[in-house]
C-alpha cells in the first residue's frame, strides 16, 4: 500500500516537473547555407564564391602601383602611377549577382554575372559552393589602329568551387578560360593566343572576426602568351562595420582575371610584385 502510494507520488512529481520543464533549445536551421566563405566577392584580383545578398550593392575601388623593385626612387612603385578599377556589384537575388567595372589600364569596361549553382551547407549535405562567373570586357582606349567593337571585346568564364573547411579556413579552386577577340603582335617571335586557360587557387585564413590573411595564385594551363608569368598575391583583409579593406602584394597589374592570365609580366616568386589595395563598401538598397 505504502509502496504504491509512493510510486503514485513519484509519478505525480515526475509529471509536475515535466510540465514545468523548459523545451529543449534547438537551432532553427542546422542545415542552412554556410556564411562567409570569403569576406568579399574578390580577394585581390580573383573572384570568390562570396556573393552579395539580394538588394545589396557593393562599391569597390581597386588599385595597384608599379613594381616594388623600383625601390625608394619610385617609392616602391607608388610613383609609377596606379591602375585603378572602380566597380559596382549588385545582388539581383541571393544567387545571382551582376556587376560593372572600369579599369584605367586600356580603359577597359567590364560587365559581369555570377550565378550560384550550389551553396555549401552547415551539415555538409552539400560539401562545396559552386559559382559560375562570366565577364565581358570592352577596351575603349585609343589604339594605334582602329578596331571594330567586336575586336575590342574580351571574355572570361570561370567555375569557382569552394569549401569552407572550418571557421578559420576556406579554399577555392577556379578553372577558367579567357578569350580575347584581338591579340596584337608587337615582336616577330612573340607567341600569342586568343584563348588561354588557367586554374585559380584562392585561400583565406581567418585571424579573428575582423582580420584575415588570404592568397591567390593563377597558373596558366597549356599555351601561354610569351613573357607572361603566373599571377599571385598575398592579401591582408580588414573588415570594419561598413568597409572591407584589402591590402596586398600582387604580381598582376589587373583586377580582371582574363587580363591577369594574359597580361601578367612580373613573377611573384622572383620575387617581384606591386603594392595595392581594395576598398569595398556594401549598401543595402532594399
Amino acid at each position: 500500500m505504502i509502496k504504491t502510494a509512493t510510486t503514485t507520488l513519484l509519478f505525480s512529481l515526475f509529471i509536475f516537473s515535466f510540465s514545468q520543464a523548459q523545451m529543449e533549445r534547438t537551432r532553427a536551421n542546422p542545415d542552412g547555407p554556410v556564411d562567409e566563405t570569403f569576406l568579399t566577392k574578390n580577394i585581390g584580383g580573383l573572384g570568390t564564391v562570396q556573393l552579395l545578398g539580394k538588394g545589396d550593392l557593393n562599391s569597390m575601388i581597386q588599385h595597384n602601383f608599379g613594381d616594388v623593385r623600383g625601390g625608394i626612387d619610385t617609392f616602391f612603385g607608388v610613383d609609377e602611377g596606379a591602375n585603378v578599377r572602380i566597380a559596382f556589384g549588385y545582388g539581383l537575388t541571393d544567387d545571382i549577382n551582376i556587376g560593372i567595372g572600369r579599369t584605367s589600364e586600356e580603359d577597359n569596361i567590364d560587365f559581369g554575372v555570377d550565378y550560384r549553382i550550389l551553396h555549401q551547407t552547415k551539415s555538409d549535405r552539400i560539401p562545396v559552393s559552386v559559382v559560375l562567373k562570366g565577364n565581358m570586357g570592352i577596351t575603349t582606349g585609343e589604339k594605334t589602329y582602329d578596331p571594330s567593337l567586336t575586336e575590342r571585346l574580351n571574355y572570361l568564364g570561370s567555375l569557382m568551387l569552394a569549401r569552407k573547411f572550418n571557421d578559420n579556413f576556406s579554399f577555392q579552386i577556379s578553372p577558367m578560360v579567357s578569350h580575347f577577340n584581338t591579340v596584337v603582335k608587337r615582336e616577330a617571335n612573340e607567341e600569342l593566343y586568343n584563348t588561354v586557360f588557367g586554374l585559380g587557387f584562392t585561400g583565406r585564413f581567418k585571424l579573428n572576426e575582423r582580420k584575415s590573411i588570404s592568397f591567390e595564385y593563377l597558373p596558366v594551363i597549356g599555351d601561354r602568351i610569351s613573357d607572361t608569368k603566373n599571377h599571385a598575391a598575398i592579401v591582408y583583409e580588414l573588415e570594419t562595420g561598413g568597409h572591407v579593406f584589402q591590402m596586398f602584394f600582387m604580381s598582376g597589374r589587373w583586377f580582371t582575371e582574363q587580363h591577369l592570365l594574359t597580361r601578367t609580366q612580373t613573377d611573384f616568386f622572383e620575387p617581384n610584385f606591386r603594392f595595392g589595395f581594395n576598398v569595398n563598401r556594401v549598401f543595402g538598397l532594399l
Partner: protein
C-alpha cells in the same frame, strides 16, 4: 496490482490533462526595433518557438537569433557579431503567468508574465505585458517590452559603424496550436 493500475491511470490522465492545456508554435513572429535618427531599422524572424501551459501557467519562448533578418546582409552580420550568436545562439524567456486568465473566454485578455529573459549569456528577471486570446485555432499571444542592451552586456564592437539604440523595442506575435495528447 490494482493500485499500480490506478497509478498508471493517474499518469495517463495527468499527461492528457497537461496536453489539453498546452499550446505550442515554432513559427511565431518576433520583431525588434532600433530607433536612431538616420539609422533606424528593424529585424524580424518567423521562427519564434513558444510553449504555453495554461494549467500551471508556464510560458516558455525562445528564438534562434541567427534567424533575425534586418533586410541587409552586412547589418545582419554585424548584429550576429554584436550578439555573439555563435557563442549564445538563443534569446529565451521562461516564466509564469502573473495575472488571471479565464480559459472559458474567447475575448482578448490582458495578462502579465514574470520570468527570466536570457540573451548574450546574461539573465534578467523581467515582467512583460501582453495579451492572450483563445480562438478556434489555438492560443494567440502578443507581447512587447523594452530591452536595454546594457542590462545584457551587449555592446557593438567599437570598430563597427553600426549605430543601435541602447533600448530596443521587442514585439512578439504568435498563434500557438493545441498540443495533441
Amino acid at each position: 496490482m490494482k493500485k499500480l493500475f490506478l497509478a498508471s491511470l493517474l499518469l495517463v490522465l495527468s499527461v492528457s490533462f497537461v496536453s489539453a492545456q498546452s499550446f505550442k508554435t515554432e513559427e511565431g513572429k518576433a520583431t525588434f526595433y532600433s530607433k536612431v535618427p538616420l539609422h533606424s531599422f528593424e529585424g524580424n524572424s518567423e521562427k519564434l518557438v513558444g510553449l504555453v501551459n495554461l494549467e500551471d501557467g508556464t510560458i516558455d519562448f525562445y528564438i534562434d537569433l541567427e534567424t533575425l533578418d534586418t533586410g541587409n546582409g552586412k547589418r545582419d552580420k554585424d548584429m550576429k557579431l554584436t550578439l555573439e550568436t555563435k557563442k549564445y545562439p538563443f534569446a529565451e524567456f521562461f516564466g509564469k503567468l502573473d495575472s488571471d486568465f479565464d480559459p472559458e473566454s474567447s475575448s482578448v485578455q490582458d495578462v502579465s508574465v514574470k520570468g527570466t529573459f536570457k540573451i548574450h549569456g546574461e539573465e534578467q528577471e523581467i515582467e512583460v505585458e501582453g495579451t492572450l486570446q483563445l480562438t478556434d485555432e489555438g492560443l494567440h499571444v502578443t507581447a512587447g517590452w523594452i530591452l536595454s542592451l546594457l542590462d545584457y552586456d551587449i555592446e557593438p564592437p567599437k570598430i563597427l559603424f553600426i549605430k543601435v539604440d541602447k533600448d530596443q523595442e521587442i514585439k512578439i506575435d504568435a498563434l500557438l496550436k493545441p498540443v495533441e495528447g
